[in-house]
């Protein structure tokens, strides 16, 4: 081990004395620091803005005057997705999925206000975040720092000289890998500092932050081992560089994009327009609650009249319009729920396939682990949509129930012509204050840790493969007499 440490020290000294390596490390450190600061600033601003907007929209809803409950159903409210606990480290899909939902009766709206739609095209290219730096740029820097570590020694004849001085293949490989590992740790420092800072701010996230750090540690360990092994196996430093650049382009750039495109084709998600048309068609099939001749609602009315032993809706012990609205909302919401569940099932299947495809690219696995840990993954967004829909349904049904129980049927029927009856249909503004605010919490650290198990297992597999390649390189060097 002493020899390996000595070799690592000399390699680090070479990096420090090489302008190219120094510029590379300094550039990455600078980018990491800028990414950490800008991402933390942006996410803090987004969190503050969303919290303020949520509070404002809640206050506006509660400040509504006396109103007919169905007016409030259409007035609606807004749900804003809160910023994930570690979003400053990895904003994940936050910029692409929309963060604002308008919640109203009869409709399930799409999320709007995604940064990618609101900002320049650069956001679509990839935000400069600590996660992006670690996933994409750090491996590239490691390639440039490490491609020649052993190949260079072989080319200049010093590899055999080292062996003649007593350094075996294992010492040389471990020493070179250690030096590259130190460079990797240095490159990770600002990003990890950002992660640590987020964990300090939210102590409950410390465990998840540690798991996230572990996943990146594993990811960069794979690169360190592979780069060192390729440098040992390649016939020349140039060959090692070409091989490793190609590997970076395939693993980090090509495969994640190709995999995303492939799962989109293999498990297609209907477009929003197609879904809207399909929902509209299904709504027509369900029926129109405003049409007295609609078969479904006519049957619903007949059943109700029979149950209460009356012949007219006016004789029911509640306001039929409110109950009708509840039934209509129940049916449409079930439809929305079914469509949302189908879309979520497809998206979850796509995500699972992408995780499985992590077997051909550790970049995919680390992305999944990172976004899941930060609660900025698609799963968290889908959970937000489900929570918002549940909130919308409960709020609308509560208002519909209020119409059924607190608004007299006769007043409701006459309110368009009789201002006094109209006044009587209005519910006190105090009631709006009793409706709870929308509150969404990201999956708990325990749930997220569970969801990280699969990508972490894939990363562990990659570490094992990299160790295998490392051991193979050792055997090759030993066979060459080292």
């Amino acid at each position: 081990m002493n020899r390996a440490l000595t070799i690592a020290g000399a390699e680090l000294r070479l990096m420090l004395r090489s302008r190219l390596a120094l510029v590379g490390i300094a550039t990455l450190l600078l980018l990491s620091a800028i990414a950490a600061v800008t991402s933390a600033t942006q996410m803090a601003a987004a969190a503050e803005m969303r919290a303020e907007a949520q509070a404002a929209t809640d206050a506006q809803f509660k400040a509504q005057p006396d109103r007919h409950p169905h007016r409030m159903v259409h007035y609606g409210t807004y749900a804003l997705r809160p910023v994930g606990p570690l979003a400053a480290f990895d904003p994940g899909v936050d910029a692409f999925t929309g963060t604002l939902l308008f919640l109203e009766g009869h409709r399930q709206n799409s999320a709007t206000f995604g940064a990618a739609r609101e900002s320049s095209d650069l956001v679509r290219f990839g935000q400069l975040t600590p996660a992006f730096v670690l996933q994409t740029l750090a491996p590239l820097l490691l390639v440039f720092l490490g491609f020649a570590s052993i190949a260079r020694e072989r080319e200049r004849g010093s590899l055999r000289a080292l062996a003649a001085y007593g350094a075996g293949a294992w010492s040389i490989l471990v020493g070179k890998a250690l030096a590259l590992g130190v460079a990797a740790a240095l490159a990770m420092a600002p990003a990890f500092a950002a992660l640590g800072w987020a964990a300090v701010q939210q102590p409950g996230e410390a465990g998840i932050a540690a798991l996230t750090a572990l996943s990146y540690g594993g990811y960069l360990l794979v690169w360190v081992l592979v780069i060192t092994a390729v440098s040992a196996l390649a016939a020349s430093a140039q060959g090692a560089l070409v091989t490793l650049i190609a590997a970076w382009a395939i693993v980090v750039v090509l495969v994640p994009r190709a995999a995303a495109a492939w799962v989109g084709v293999a498990e297609p998600l209907p477009s929003r327009v197609d879904t809207e048309f399909a929902i509209a068609a299904d709504l027509r099939r369900i029926g129109d609650s405003h049409n007295p001749n609609d078969p479904h609602f006519a049957a619903f009315k007949a059943k109700l009249l029979k149950r209460y032993g009356v012949t007219r809706v006016e004789d029911l012990p509640f306001n039929y319009r409110g109950v009708l609205a509840q039934e209509g909302e129940r049916l449409t919401s079930q439809l929305f729920k079914d469509y949302a569940a189908r879309a979520a099932a497809i998206q979850n299947a796509q995500t699972e396939t992408l995780t499985t495809l992590g077997i051909i690219s550790p970049a995919l696995a680390v992305r999944r682990a990172s976004m899941t840990g930060a609660a900025t993954d698609l799963g968290t967004h889908l959970a937000f949509l489900a929570a918002a829909e549940a909130y919308r349904y409960a709020m609308v049904q509560k208002l519909n129930g209020l119409q059924a129980s607190a608004v007299a049927s006769a007043d409701d029927a006459a309110r368009s012509k009789d201002p006094i009856a109209d006044r009587r249909t209005r519910i006190s503004a105090d009631f709006w204050k009793t409706i709870p605010d929308f509150d969404f919490s990201a999956p708990s650290p325990g749930e997220r840790a569970g969801a990280m198990a699969m990508p972490l297992a894939v990363l562990a597999l990659w570490v094992a493969l990299a160790i295998g390649l490392f051991a193979f390189a050792r055997r090759r060097l030993e066979r060459a007499g080292l």
Binding site: R3, R13, L14, S18, R156, A161, L162, A163, Y165, G481
Partner: protein, 239 residues
Amino acid sequence: MSNPVLVIDQLVVERGGRRIVDGLSLTLAGGEIYALLGGNGAGKSTTLFAILGFLARSGGGLTIGGQDPATAIEAVRAQIAYLPENVALYDHLTARENVDYLLKIADCRRSRAEIEAAFLSVGLAAPAWEQRAGSFSKGMRQKTAIALAMLRDTPLLLLDEPTSGLDPAASADFHALLETLAARGVAVLMVTHDLLGAADTADRIGLISGGRIASEWSAQTSEPRFDLNALHDGFARVR
């Protein structure tokens, strides 16, 4: 010959299915300088690589200090200082850092004073000690490497074309250094094309041909030490 440092007995080494060394025998005692001459591809460097354990032998015997590289490679390498044709110093390190580094790799502790004394004894001036090896001439690199060999204090020094590219004065300096090492009891095996240099320094000269030592000459006690005509004729025949 008492306590030979290097014993090669009917050594056979094959590369790519071809016998490069074929029955080479050689014994070298401490304090002796042996120059191995031969044409390109005659098997000179292959012999050195077999001694260092970089190449496995197909037949014959080989021991260094009584140890066989096939079974005790670390122990064998601990007894050898090796200078390849292009002295493998690290350009980004100074002479002192190179020596420090390679001594640490060899697990050999030497004080600062010992290192400086070694530099002085090989004629490496003090200003060069803190210069990076990237700016060194081949002569300076060799002096640094010889200082390193002296500091390691190994019983056997292997040299591969040590004087190629050196001017006559530097070559003479280098041979003087070898004599200093030999005087300290180090056995020196030198692979070279430099007939005159070998004749000037070596105690014995072997001419390798067909993978074995075809002719061997020993130095006379009086001048001229070798019959240069005989050496030249022999060398010309095998080339």
